[in-house]
């Protein structure tokens, strides 16, 4: 039973992934990616990692994908026709991806069949214990990472805004810089 669920979910996950790649419309890609994420969350459930599954949905579907959608909407990309690669490059991409799959699968083939025991898995509390004891430092480090990302994103946005303001203000930017920025835009 579980095995069939596994196969079904796997099928959906792979299908979703392929659709992400091959969809022309970015929004469609996003939808399929969300689908894949859901199937992966289901896999987590299968593996008895309920808490992780929940977090996964929240973070990926709830946050990251929304961000993607937001940017797509913001930049109005959903109806922009994306330049396609040439057929040759596409074939090369598919071949490379396929080869990577085949090669890795072949390389990672083990002689034995190993079953996964789902009984001894950490719940939210067990995970929390590990996370806040053994993995306390990385936990804090992630805060640094997020802080850095935040700072960076803000810095980029702020600089751009300031530049835009300068452009409006006119005389705030020296003549030479203005001409240069024009030159770069060409």
């Amino acid at each position: 039973m579980t095995l069939y669920a596994f196969y079904f979910l796997s099928f959906l996950a792979v299908l979703g992934a392929l659709m992400v790649v091959f969809s022309r419309n970015p929004v469609t890609s996003v939808i399929f990616l969300v689908m894949t994420f859901f199937t992966i969350a289901c896999h987590y459930m299968l593996l008895n990692a309920q808490f992780l599954a929940a977090v996964h949905i929240i973070v990926y579907a709830g946050a990251i994908m929304v961000l993607f959608l937001y940017v797509i909407m913001l930049l109005n990309l959903n109806d922009a026709v994306e330049q396609q690669k040439t057929l040759l490059l596409k074939v090369a991409a598919v071949v490379t991806g396929g080869l990577l799959m085949i090669v890795l699968s072949a390389a990672l083939r083990t002689a034995e069949v190993t079953y996964v025991d789902t009984s001894v898995v950490g719940s939210a509390s067990s995970l929390g214990k590990v996370l806040l004891s053994e993995y306390l430092l990385p936990f804090e480090a992630v805060s640094l990472l997020l802080l850095a990302a935040m700072t960076g994103a803000i810095m980029l946005a702020r600089t751009r805004r300031r530049k835009a303001e300068d452009a409006e203000g006119g005389n705030a930017v020296p003549e030479s810089e203005q001409t240069e920025s024009v030159a770069y835009e060409q």
């Binding site: 490059l89 090369a92 080869l99 990577l100 090669v103 890795l104 072949a106 390389a107």
Partner: protein, 636 residues
């Protein structure tokens, strides 16, 4: 007999003269130089006489100095020390004696030349090196003198350095000598390798105890190559006629009397090595006779007064080598000595002629000079008679002995040598007649300036003429009841060889007969020459291109210069150019630069791979991963 440090004074005197003149060049007046330069040589001569007298007392006596170690390493040790035995003192006497006379002569001849001081400096330096050559106590010192005189010869041939032809002649002389010198130095190295020493004493003592063996032949041949170069034998003789570019006294001193005979001296010095090697002796003799013939034939058709004498010198040197090659070392030395007298005389007299003719050297523009230059004429006549072997002049005795020895060894050798010496008679008298007799053929202006040379020049002429006449009398053969004094004098020197060589003894009758034939034919030739050049008044054509056959061959010196030019000089330059253009620049250097070009090319390729396209970069990364996993996990 070590410890005669006073020997040093003899070579050092002329060296001091050289140093004084060259350092004080501008500050020394001509008159000072005129005294100083001949003075030191005269002093050296007098000291040599002193040595000579000391050596006369004891046949086996020799003097040597302790000297100092020049250089050395391991078993090689070269000492800088001098040695005087009967052989070297003979040479010293000739060098300083004739040298002195020529110095005196030069004070007149070079009068008015702007390089007067320089000239005498070189001349003194030459005397120094020549003395080192003959007085050195080992082969390397001989080599020092050997190359040193070569240098002086180079400097003096190119004395008038503004003339590039003269410079070319000087270069030619030096380089040809160097070819011989290479042989000589290799010979010396072989001596060192074989005997473990290069000192005369050690080598000769050791050699005297040895059997004949190939290595000694090689030594003898290599040394002889040196002699070929220095004494202008086939195939290295062409520099000597060109060397006439130098001032005439130089030709007399260096290219007739002393330096060119160094080869003869060298063989006399190394006689034991040659005596041990019959093959080497044969080579010496054959080379000598061939050179004698060749040079004599060439001389027949030369029209430059000095060139004729130069070829004559080559020819006479050939005769000396014939003597050496027949093992008659003393005879060779004897001829060397008489030749020094009469050839120096002839050159100086020729110089006197040139001096009078305002530099003209072509005998076709001379004639009838006997009236204007009586002393020169007479002395030149003496010289000519001497070289022609007219008894009882010096040349007769020396040449006769050579022929006699040659006859004893090989009749053909004798025939060739005799023929060469008869040719000598012809071209010498041709020269004499064309120069001094017949109708004057020079221009009026030259004719009006004709004058006998100053005293400083004529006195040496007279003295040398006297020596040319009387020089042979010290070695009057037994046939004429003489004591063979000269041979006896040198006998101790060659004693070791004497034991090794089979003694050829001609009966007096044969000897007399040979003499008779040669002298008889000589007289006939003189008459013939007189007939052609005086009675018939035949003067050689101005246009030499009309000459045909043998005459052309002789006139153009067998085309040897052209041959060398085509076979050696040009190919060498072409080969060098080829090495430079093809091997050096195009091959080796291009290989080296090719590495750079390759790197730049690769750089360009690698650079272009960096397309700036992120998709491509990612693709390469993914492909690399695939490749990596495949190779590492699946294949290997």
């Amino acid at each position: 007999m070590v410890g005669h440090e006073s020997l040093w004074i003899i070579p050092l005197l002329p060296l001091a003269g050289f140093i004084a003149i060259s350092l004080l060049n501008k500050r020394l007046g001509r008159s000072t130089v005129s005294v100083l330069a001949p003075g030191v040589v005269l002093a050296a001569f007098l000291l040599s006489v002193g040595v000579f007298i000391r050596l006369l007392s004891d046949p086996n006596m020799f003097l040597s100095t302790a000297g100092f170690t020049w250089f050395g390493s391991g078993t090689l040790s070269v000492s800088f020390s001098l040695l005087a035995d009967r052989l070297s003192v003979l040479m010293m006497l000739i060098i300083t004696g004739v040298g002195f006379l020529i110095h005196v002569y030069s004070t007149g001849y070079m009068h008015g030349d702007e390089g007067y001081n320089r000239y005498f400096a070189y001349l003194n330096l030459f005397i120094f090196f020549m003395l080192v050559l003959v007085m050195g106590s080992n082969y390397l010192l001989m080599f020092v003198g050997w190359e040193g005189v070569g240098l002086c010869s180079y400097l003096l041939i190119g004395f008038w350095f503004k003339n590039q032809d003269y410079n070319d002649a000087a270069n030619k002389a030096f380089i040809m000598n160097r070819i011989g010198d290479l042989g000589m130095i290799l010979g010396i190295i072989l001596i060192f390798a074989h005997f473990g020493s290069i000192g005369y004493e050690q080598v000769f003592t050791a050699a005297a105890l040895q059997e004949s063996q190939p290595i000694i032949t090689w030594i003898a041949i290599l040394l002889f190559i040196g002699a070929i170069g220095k004494s202008a034998q086939i195939p290295l003789f062409t520099w000597l006629p060109d060397a006439m570019a130098g001032p005439t006294p130089v030709s007399a001193l260096i290219h007739a009397a002393t330096m060119v005979t160094a080869g003869v001296y060298m063989i006399a010095r190394s006689h034991i090595l040659y005596s041990l090697s019959p093959l080497a002796l044969e080579i010496v003799a054959v080379t000598g006779v061939a050179t004698a013939l060749m040079a004599a034939t060439i001389a027949l058709r030369q029209n430059d007064i000095k060139k004729v004498l130069a070829y004559s010198t080559v020819s006479q040197l050939g005769l000396m080598f014939v003597a050496m090659g027949t093992g008659a070392y003393a005879t060779g030395m004897f001829h060397m000595m008489t030749h020094a007298f009469f050839k120096a005389l002839l050159f100086l007299a020729a110089g006197s002629v040139i001096h009078a003719m305002s530099g003209e050297q072509d005998i076709r523009r001379m004639g009838g000079l006997a009236r204007h230059l009586p002393i020169t004429w007479l002395t030149f006549l003496m010289g000519t008679l001497a070289i022609s072997g007219i008894p009882p002049l010096s040349g007769f005795f020396s040449k006769d002995e050579i022929l006699a020895n040659a006859f004893a060894v090989n009749t053909w050798l004798w025939a060739a040598a005799a023929f060469a010496s008869l040719l000598t008679v012809f071209y010498m008298f041709r020269l004499l007649f064309l120069t001094f007799k017949g109708q004057p053929r020079m221009g009026e202006e030259v004719k009006n300036h004709l004058h006998e040379s100053p005293r400083s020049m004529t006195i040496p002429l007279i003295l040398l003429a006297a020596l040319s006449v009387a020089g042979g009398w010290i070695n009057i053969p037994e046939v004429f009841g003489g004591g063979h004094a000269f041979n006896d004098y040198l006998a101790p020197v060659f004693a070791d060889s004497q034991r090794l060589m089979a003694t050829h003894h001609l009966s007096h009758a044969t000897e007399l007969m040979l003499m008779g034939i040669v002298v008889g034919v000589t007289v006939l030739i003189i008459v013939w020459a007189y007939r052609i050049y005086i009675a018939l008044g035949r003067v050689p054509e101005r246009d030499e291109s009309t000459l045909r056959g043998m005459a052309r061959l002789f006139n153009r010196k067998y085309f040897v210069d052209e041959l060398y030019d085509a076979l050696i000089v040009r190919p060498l330059y072409m080969f060098s150019q080829l090495l430079h253009d093809v091997i050096d620049r195009s091959l080796v250097d291009r290989l080296v630069n090719g590495a750079g070009v390759l790197v730049r090319w690769l750089s360009d390729v690698f650079r272009k791979v960096q397309t700036g396209n992120t998709g491509f970069y990612v693709f390469v990364m993914a492909a690399a991963v695939v490749l990596l996993i495949t190779l590492k996990m699946l294949v290997l």
